[in-house]
Symmetry: C2
Subunit: 374 residues, 2 copies
Amino acid sequence: MNEFDFIKSLRDQSRAQRHSSRILTGIGDDAAILSQFPGSDLLITTDLLIEEIDFHRSATPPQLLGHKALAVSLSDIAAMGGRPLWSMVSLGLPNDLWQSGFKDKFFAGYFAHANQFGVTLIGGDLSESRAGVVIDSIVLGQVTSGSAVRRSGAQPGDHIFVTGTLGAAAAGLKLIEIGARLGSSVLNSLPGHVTRSGTSANENLVDQPESRDSNSNSEPDHDSSETKSIETLLLRQLRPSPRVGWGMVIGAEHLATAMIDISDGLSSDLDHLCKESNVGALIRSDNIPTDSDVTFLCGRRALDPLSLALHGGEDFELLFTSRAEAVARLPKRVDGIAISHIGEITDQPGKIQVIEKNHIWDLRPEGFEHFKKQ
Amino acid sequence: MNEFDFIKSLRDQSRAQRHSSRILTGIGDDAAILSQFPGSDLLITTDLLIEEIDFHRSATPPQLLGHKALAVSLSDIAAMGGRPLWSMVSLGLPNDLWQSGFKDKFFAGYFAHANQFGVTLIGGDLSESRAGVVIDSIVLGQVTSGSAVRRSGAQPGDHIFVTGTLGAAAAGLKLIEIGARLGSSVLNSLPGHVTRSGTSANENLVDQPESRDSNSNSEPDHDSSETKSIETLLLRQLRPSPRVGWGMVIGAEHLATAMIDISDGLSSDLDHLCKESNVGALIRSDNIPTDSDVTFLCGRRALDPLSLALHGGEDFELLFTSRAEAVARLPKRVDGIAISHIGEITDQPGKIQVIEKNHIWDLRPEGFEHFKKQ
């Protein structure tokens, strides 16, 4: 049984034993929906981040870990069309990190991000952890009654949109895995203390252990562009921007029939949305918004930006479906972020196809999955 | 800076940046309180449980781990005087446990306990974990507007009460640490699958690696009593009973001025309550409800039951203070659990004293604390 089937079995058990009529949506969407007071529904979501599985501590300054822990849950509230209001965080730390400045930097990053969206930390828990950093991030939000956007409302003929660009976070992860690290100019700009013990001053924006070998000094312009691209991609992985503004606009103006955030990857998250809605999808590869930095770096490494855009996770963009009559009401940009119309919902449940040039092929969900069969 | 000082600094930061007037209580109590609809406040709490720090997996059947993960958070809602309604759980599992029956047994125990209190699981998260089991337990509840019982309302002259008995969970932990384990008759009665691979059938209620050496076969009655006592204490540690009924009665009938659950230990939790209320306390050692099984086993081992009752954690009893005029309205028992009147609140902030025979001594908070200086 894979992760998603197991969650489905928990949902069935939970539904069979539902004790409260105020649960509008329980397990199985980006957040749970509880009816609250007349006119308002409550949203709540939780995300578990475990060292070496969900993040690499050596590549992640504590401030950005605090930022990201909150961001992943803000993204879930955005994916319901809600406004985030309150948060909690449970933090397990090895004793040596407790004694260091780690926790202060973590919360400096956390609070800076919370303030950006008017979110207040209202609780949490602390525990020692023998084996690495463990974070559980909880965000509560609200939405006008009945306005929450579930995964399950897409209908054949709906247009499929995605905010921003895809593939950059996955490219950033690949760079981290081959040793790329944020440079000192970024580290020095983080909230709270910035000096990391053991890190010498470094005038480069990023450390690029790979690019120094593969590029000669005779290409200074390329090197500089590459450095900038690497930095951008590392930050897309380490400092994601949840699309809270887009989520609130879509929820408040009833612009979408279904929505999910792209955390596992477009192929997997579109699959989740289609399965919950009992529909299929046809998307056009040319319309998938790949990232220019990804394209630039992939071009130099013979990698495929489309593959990263389809299967790479953690972009935390929003994927949503809109009825034809709502499309004209969609804003061009929110918070500077544009959207792309990538395809249409079909009446073939579970079937997701890609039109690439003159060729149509089936898209399998190949995004991130915990406990994937090796 | 210790754990509690750090939480205080987070509370200060959170208060300075409070964005919402609906937060009635944020960081620093058993649960956060949010105003909800007219007549009702929402409670939310989270508890992080990490393997080898907060539980010993080898001594804890998965069903009881599921039970306890929920129980610790139910206890927080009870400590606010609230009714638990909904829950979420984030679970990090090593890959080998994912592939085993562990998760099904965990949720069998979790759901059985949730049903006991009419609580519905509405969400959560799953992640792989490289280093042991990690659980974050979240419970939401509600209380009539303004009826939540904070830690901060105790006043000089209030009477101090505690539900049930103290010290048994700590004694159970000590037994686990010297190798005692639940026997097959208990294991066979757990919800869900009961056969643990690698465990041979065992007709004893408990394995008692220590007692077998220390007791001769010429004391069959004592052995049988000891076995029963050990089993009881192991279950007080592994299968705590949150005082949900007491919490709801106290909240609904406005019987307490302040309340906290005893998770760290009476000395520490009374200290938390007194500090939040800016008062002191005088308690009588004779009135502290020690557990008869603890007394029995301690007597055979020259241990001090009073010390376990004062400093042992995880009893998940409720500690509350009541004005003199409310005392007559306190029920004798709720769900079969009695209360003990252990002392009075004084006007000496932070000073907690114990009357033991003709002697008065200062009680230091010596209960559980993460990141205690070694």
